[in-house]
Symmetry: C2
Subunit: 484 residues, 2 copies
């Protein structure tokens, strides 16, 4: 037996049970708003829970519980796919999204916390279904915390060891008992921040339903909104609140935990956090200045719009406070590039991640020096520590493969007759789990006009991006399936 199929099935079963449980939470919402969809959601929930039980039946007593690396890749990838297959049921059964392809796109966009939508009128969707839509993102964000904390470092994915070394109680090579303790703490933090944002938004004047939904999708850096205008019509205070929580959601949860424990030294010694914050500040200033030239509005409005969009894209949340692609070609290009930044490692953000960019830049500049002095050893240093060359290699390979996957995606999408800028924007925003793109999938548009084949392609890219590429690509490599 090469793979521990029984344990894999058992774990997938557990995932489905949890998912079905979350689904059931939407039934009271539906009932409260007197919508007929409660039945559809109930059926979807029962199918999901039932399938979970069936999968767990595969398990036997006293079986080998050991999981190998290869099992890990399968569980993670299959987990996200299975979630999306069952998560699409409420949309399909209720008829909110009749086509399964569209429903799968919307669900994958949810669990991967991308936030790209095929819904043209969000406000006519029943509340129970909308709540489920927001929950898929929140579940996805929860999954990311444990993934980033424990599973990706265990699989050795693209430099996630970097982050792992910073987390309490974790060594890159094996899962330690303390990991459960740490995961629980960070989940409490995640729940706590979600509640805090919901309360803040409600106090600032947002309706209760919208406040809860937006806080669920903020902390997941998801970006699904319950209104057609996303955050465009909201008050400045609400926008600032959302900015604050998006910023937190794009920060490593471990760091936020340390900050709450008043261990500020850890925070301000963390190079990724410093770069992440400085980058947002610098780009916001640039965008504010650019906006002052092209828009006739008060400084505060320009600053707020700039800050909102920069934070929204850098953290890969994807909320929209204005149609920024209409501002100027310079800002379109800049915001397109921001789709590749990707928040901090250990947050719920998608994309490349700030720490990898830091490694890339440092290594590139070192290479100029290395050329002048070929015999000198010059390791990349992060937060003062010399990095293992193998990890630098891994990070560079990650970024290269990211670019390759991006280009392959653009070629395939353009082969479906999608125009140049739309194809670039749609692929970048899907792979980076951001949400809005440019061109015909810009901030005030959606993905409904994409050809169906394009939707499947983009769903796949969301999954690839969310699972840090290697997890999924590994399964496509013939080497993986070879005995050894």
């Amino acid at each position: 037996m090469r793979f521990n199929i029984k344990v894999i099935a058992d774990l997938l079963g557990i995932i489905l049970l949890i998912n079905g449980g979350f689904m059931a939470l939407c039934i009271p919402v539906s009932v409260y708003y007197k919508e007929s969809d409660w039945l559809a959601i109930l059926i979807a929930s029962l199918i999901t829970i039932g399938s979970g039980f069936l999968l767990r039946l595969v398990k036997r007593k006293n079986q080998n519980k050991e999981l190998k690396k290869k099992d890990g890749y399968i569980i993670v990838t299959a987990g996200w796919v299975v979630l999306s297959l069952f998560g699409a049921l409420p949309y399909v059964i209720s008829g909110a999204i009749p086509s399964f392809g569209n429903a799968f796109f919307e669900t994958m966009s949810g669990y991967t916390t991308t936030g790209a939508s095929i819904l043209t009128d969000i406000e006519i969707v029943p509340k129970g279904i909308l709540f489920w839509r927001s929950l898929t993102q929140w579940i996805g964000g929860m999954g990311m915390i444990v993934l980033a904390l424990a599973i990706l470092p265990f699989l050795g994915i693209g430099g996630m060891q970097l982050f792992a070394a910073e987390a309490p109680g974790i060594t890159p090579d094996k899962l330690q008992p303390r990991i459960q303790e740490t995961a629980k703490r960070l989940w409490f933090l995640y729940v706590g921040l979600t509640l805090a944002e919901a309360v803040a938004l409600y106090v600032a004047g947002m309706g209760a339903f919208d406040a809860i939904n937006h806080s669920l999708t903020t902390m997941a850096t998801g970006g699904f909104s319950t209104t057609n205008d996303s955050m465009q019509l909201d008050s400045p205070v609400i926008q600032y609140i959302v900015i604050f929580f998006m910023f937190l959601a794009g920060t490593s949860f471990t760091l936020t935990y340390f900050a709450l424990k008043r261990n500020f030294k850890k925070v301000f010694k963390n190079e990724e956090f410093i770069v992440y914050t400085s980058f947002i500040v610098v780009i916001t200033i640039v965008v504010t200045v650019a906006l002052l030239f092209v828009q006739d509005q008060p400084l505060e409005t320009s600053f707020r719009e700039a800050l909102f969009q920069v934070v929204s894209l850098v953290t890969t949340t994807g909320f929209v406070s204005a149609d920024y692609t209409a501002w100027a070609p310079f800002l379109s290009v800049l915001f397109f590039i921001l789709l590749f930044v990707g928040g901090s490692a250990g947050s719920t953000a998608g994309g490349v991640k700030v720490i990898r960019h830091v490694v890339l830049f440092k290594n590139s500049f070192l290479e100029l020096k290395r050329q002048l002095h070929p015999s000198a050893v010059m390791p990349v240093r992060i937060s003062g520590k010399a990095m293992d060359q193998g990890i630098v290699y891994n990070v560079l390979a990650f970024i290269m493969i990211y670019i390759l996957v991006f280009l392959v995606g653009v070629v395939l999408l353009s082969a479906m007759n999608v125009e140049f800028d739309t194809a670039f924007g749609a692929v970048a925003t899907s792979l980076g789990n951001v949400g809005p793109g440019i061109g015909e999938v810009g901030p005030v548009d959606n993905f409904s006009a994409m050809p169906m084949a394009g939707k499947w392609l983009l769903s796949t890219l969301m999954l690839l991006g969310r699972l840090e590429l290697f997890t999924v690509l590994m399964l496509l490599s013939p080497h993986f399936w070879r005995k050894r």
Copy 2:
């Protein structure tokens, strides 16, 4: 004395003398066509030769002739800039291009063998000046052969050691006496192929002047044409001849030399050549099939248009046989990506180069394997030989810096209000020394409408791309100017 300024000045003087000599070759052309510009060209030539003499006066007898690595970076970069400053004189003095900024752009585009032009009507430009325009590319190509053969490996630029190891009589660490012999042989080959193409084009029915000019710019992978329609109106036979010579110009000259010596084993063992050829074949088939869907024309026409454009872009020549950006979004995207391929190392082609892509791909796929077996050593193998990890690192850094420079270029150009796709196309085609881009700088357009600041930016990018980035970037690094 940190830099050997006297030898640097002496070498720049020699470069100017040679350049002034080439310039003088245009005087008989001008006289033959009874144009009044012979005087302008004579004056430009005398200024160039005079300046060359002045620079050589700096030299003394018995001085230290030793050149260090740092001197090498300065000579190469300064050489190309000085060439372009003086090479612009014929345009400015004759009034063919009155603005110095425009003339500098056209000249830099010549010496870097880019072929991007600001001339809106090429056919009204006097023949003597047009001949000079073609010659700048041919001189640039000649410079590239010695650069790729000897200087870049000596400076240790981005994996050029790879190619150097294949060239006869060269070791990466120092210039050997045999290098002169090798350079002479390859120059003879360059001259011979240029003559052969000129004769072939003439026999196939092209006028003598056009045949000579097009062969000069083909072998340099330059792409300047003497007609407004580039190669669109030429006969199929002429187009096939040009395709054949573009293919040769994009092949390592060392390999072509071996082939002429009937050492075919060396050729077919060369992994870069195999990938270069297979890539052209595969992409041509894809484009031909795509063209059969979108164009109503015979198979041969579709095949020829596909082959011409693919070879033209992969070899970074940039001749145009049809307005390919109007064909379909898929082909626009594909041709945009081809701007990043960049011919073979050791050819006159610009861009990233096939061999670097091979290293990139192999390393990326190996990284997936390395992840499963972290302790195993898995070097990248090229043509069967394990590559030094330092060189792989250097190649990856090169590609990363290439992408960074590309993105910075796009941001800066878009800040001058150039639209998204035009900015992407203009920067990619300039940095890759190709010539035509997409959008408003597409195959049937030119660069005349670019803002002047954009022209200076693109000129700089052409230089960066031509000199394999590191040569120029090194001069911008504070570390370079520090004593050691």
